[in-house]
């Protein structure tokens, strides 16, 4: 039975000790008389979200019925953002099998082919699970990617900035459930508050009522006030384009999910690298939001920008710097960002790159820091960001 539980965990279903105890308690009481009942019981205990249902059924079938794990279609985006690939690439670079200059000449097909070859060659060491190995060379990355030094595959962008990371449909969907759990994060985010009186005055102000009644010579004078409720309106801008964000995918996913679960009044917008008067409602960036509309109605909103602030300096400073190949946008990115800051006085930029490395990573980080308060995407950084937002918000709402 424990083997089954570990298999579940390995398949990505969050398992807590409490669940295991529950399961054993139920087994002890004879609540799983046959396989069907065991299936239901285990499902009730372990599956808390619909998304996990499918995986659970597969694991159950393979463990108890001996069926081979179903072959699911590989997700190339995840693969490229995935650890094995990253490690492989690092290893290859270190051992000199691929050197930095040739890597820029490769396109994805080529890189993936080499990756697969390595994996197949050392298959003995890989204990199953990599179902995507050998599923053929279908690549979703249809672009040639050689322009201006190649598409940045080796994520962190340590080797200079790809001039144009172009494929517009090449996006990362942060909304996918992440397996990382960060319990404390939830508490930190929950402290982001904006208490505001709402609705008609219905709450009895007991202290004031007593004071007024006493002043009134004992004639009861009821005093009502409006209720204070947390009405934080949160807008989140996510950089979901390009490979520079790829290494931080898991991290951003976690934060995204927590924000999503926690706030009732939250809207997500997406942008690519830098903002040029347009943000998008959907991850593939097909539904633009009119800039004026985005800026309007902003005084009481809190704005979180999540992005690595790592771009070509030209994107920020130069006219026509936008990554869109046929851009007609003259205004440099910096001015757009300044407009944004002006419209959203209560805003913070969250950077997945750790604070200590900001100066090395990119000069643009510092430039953006001059516009936005910037914190990194660690628990501490988010704590500070939330504190900053609360403080700014308070000061701003009083004025």
């Amino acid at each position: 039975m424990l083997g089954f539980i570990y298999r579940l965990q390995a398949a990505g279903i969050p398992v807590s000790i409490q669940y295991v105890l529950e399961l054993y308690k139920a087994l002890q009481r004879g609540l799983a008389a046959d396989l069907d009942q065991l299936f239901l019981l285990a499902r009730l205990i372990f599956v808390k979200r619909v998304e996990h249902l499918d995986v659970f059924e597969q694991v159950f079938a393979s463990f108890f019925l001996g069926r081979p794990p179903g072959s699911r279609l590989p997700n190339w985006e995840e693969l490229l953002a995935d650890k094995p690939f990253e490690e492989w690439l690092r290893q290859q670079l270190e051992t000199g099998q691929i050197d930095l200059n040739t890597i820029r000449e490769f396109d994805h097909e080529e890189l993936l082919r080499r990756f697969r070859e390595t994996l197949l060659a050392q298959r003995g060491e890989h204990h199953g699970g990599h179902t995507w190995v050998g599923t053929g060379g279908r690549s979703p990355f249809g672009h040639g990617g050689r322009e201006g030094g190649g598409v940045r595959v080796y994520g962190r962008g340590l080797y200079g900035t790809a001039q144009r990371v172009i494929d517009r449909r090449n996006y990362l969907n942060y909304r996918d459930r992440s397996l990382l759990s960060a319990e404390n994060l939830r508490q930190v985010l929950a402290s982001l508050k904006s208490l505001r009186p709402v609705g008609p005055p219905t709450e009895l102000d007991v202290d004031e009522t007593i004071a007024q009644t006493a002043r009134n010579g004992g004639e009861i004078e009821l005093v009502f006030r409006r209720e204070l409720r947390n009405r934080t309106h949160l807008k989140v801008l996510l950089d979901n384009g390009g490979y520079s964000m790829t290494p931080y995918l898991a991290l951003v996913k976690t934060v995204f999910n927590h924000i999503h679960d926690l706030f009732r009044d939250v809207t997500f917008y997406y942008f690519h690298n830098c903002i040029y008067g347009e943000v998008y409602l959907d991850p593939p960036r097909t539904q633009p939001v009119v800039w004026d509309k985005f800026l309007g109605d902003s005084r009481y909103s809190r704005l979180l920008i999540i992005g690595d602030a790592n771009m070509a300096p030209a994107e920020l400073m130069a006219a026509y710097g936008s990554l869109g190949r046929a851009t007609t946008e003259r205004k440099p990115g910096r001015e757009w960002l300044q407009d944004l800051k002006q419209a959203y006085p209560v805003s913070v930029w969250l950077n997945p790159i750790t604070k200590a490395r900001w100066d090395y990573e990119s000069p643009t980080i510092r430039m953006i820091q001059q516009i936005f308060q910037m914190e990194d995407l660690t628990l501490g950084g988010i704590k500070q960001a939330v504190a900053y937002l609360n403080l700014r918000g308070l000061a701003f709402e009083r004025s």
Partner: protein
Amino acid sequence: MHFEGTDRYYLNPELREIVNLAIALEKPLLLMGEAGTGKTRLAFEVARSLGLKMEEARCKSTFKGEELCYVYDTVLRLNDSRFGSGETGRNVNNIWDYLSFGPIGRAFLADDRRILLLDEIDKTDSDTQDNLLDVLEERSFIIREINHKVAARHAPILIITSNAKRELSDPFLRRCFCHHIPFPPPEEMTLIVRLHFPELDAGFVEACLTSFYRLREQGFEKPPATAELLDWLGALKVSGAGGPGAGRELRHAGTLLKRAQDILKFRGVHRRDRF
């Protein structure tokens, strides 16, 4: 204590097992799924089948959680202290005369085991949900005004429903048994219909179900669900129609489609022709 279906409610065998497991292990049962799939109905049927009394709490977005446990009527007490409680028998010096209990309080204080239904929990704030679960897990709450602890005499059987309009938080999910009620397939639906309208002709029912499932597939904003289907069949029966009608001539389509947009789409009115 074992729950079986009732004469008025078709119970999927899987769901029956799940309800019984939740009762046996004393875990809250969280039911999710489309509106109109009988989530709330199930709680009533469990109560009826087990012969237990039920306390329902229909959640509203303004709930803070405490009012489901108890309400302290300050205004009434102030009023009584000024004008006297008169014939009512209330004693201004006794706070208990001014406390009234909500569904959770009543379920805790009852002398028998009760079913406690928290309907549409997803309407409330996530703070409220967490507070509620603390109360329900510890089976006690404190009346703040007098620091008095109310503990449950019998653990209520807890059924929670959610339309999943918004995701529930992880700690919340962790404490519940979660079950997603899928939409019943045609075979099951036939059984459900048979329970409600035993007198209807089998061929007639089949024709209606065919139109119904076809309608569901058309991607309406609010696809018709079981509750709508039963309404529709009722309407067809009362009006004495010989069949469901076809295409746009579907009889009593208003009972199946509720949203104006869906109805317009069904009638084939294009967006720009509306004005």
